[in-house]
Symmetry: C2
Amino acid sequence: TQKFVKDIKKQAIICHLNDSINNVARKIIEENENHVAIIDDDGILKGIVTSFDITRAIAENKKVLSEIITKKVITTTDDEPIDIAARKMRVNNINGLPVIDKYMRVIGLITSEELLLK
Amino acid sequence: TQKFVKDIKKQAIICHLNDSINNVARKIIEENENHVAIIDDDGILKGIVTSFDITRAIAENKKVLSEIITKKVITTTDDEPIDIAARKMRVNNINGLPVIDKYMRVIGLITSEELLLK
Ligand SMILES: C[S@@+](CC[C@H](N)C(=O)[O-])C[C@H]1O[C@@H](n2cnc3c(N)ncnc32)[C@H](O)[C@@H]1O
Ligand SMILES: C[S@@+](CC[C@H](N)C(=O)[O-])C[C@H]1O[C@@H](n2cnc3c(N)ncnc32)[C@H](O)[C@@H]1O
């Protein structure tokens, strides 16, 4: 049975802090995935960008990626039970959690779609 | 217990076919909601726009709302059991369903967040 994050996670989409908003937008469309993890030169998680943030760039005329990323990222780990991950999403009104290892590197992504009906 | 769409639906965010992409983007940010139902002059559902589609406008340099709306909308009704609504989202890889009445007017919205842990 699938009870932990590692059982249902999928590959994370990752961009760099210095990427352009347009590049991140293209990545979201190419990968058909709303959530993009943002890393630094050491591969450490530094933020998250979703299509909601890209939409804010349009609504508020922002030009630089760092102006629209969310820096306090709510994350999960391979060994987290999936009902805990689901609760994290629900209480924070979000749909995705980057999966990180103990070094805060990104090793996957879990979204509400994987959690539905589980 | 909450078993039907009408028990957990929330208010729909609605824009018109002739609205601008920028206006729809602003509405998404103001309402903190990714899904916007698009209606015509008669109040009939004509499409859906999400922040994913706004992101596509950036990625593909689209300028007009009609170029980015999804016209074939997957919908639900007040009386649909919520596990059926959840399945519709999962098989279609989507996170929201407009709730419509028998005249195809929009009377609410249900998203994957309401479905988590139910
Ligand atoms: C609060 S949600 C509200 C709209 C809708 N529920 C959604 O999921 O997009 C939108 C914001 O959540 C942020 N966000 C998404 N996933 C996140 C995560 N795992 N940790 C922190 N913030 C996150 C995004 O960067 C975006 O600014
Ligand atoms: C297939 S999803 C893929 C990305 C991600 N799963 C999401 O929910 O945004 C993105 C597309 O689904 C469309 N969409 C969202 N809700 C829909 C619905 N209820 N009926 C039809 N299309 C919908 C959006 O217009 C958007 O073009």
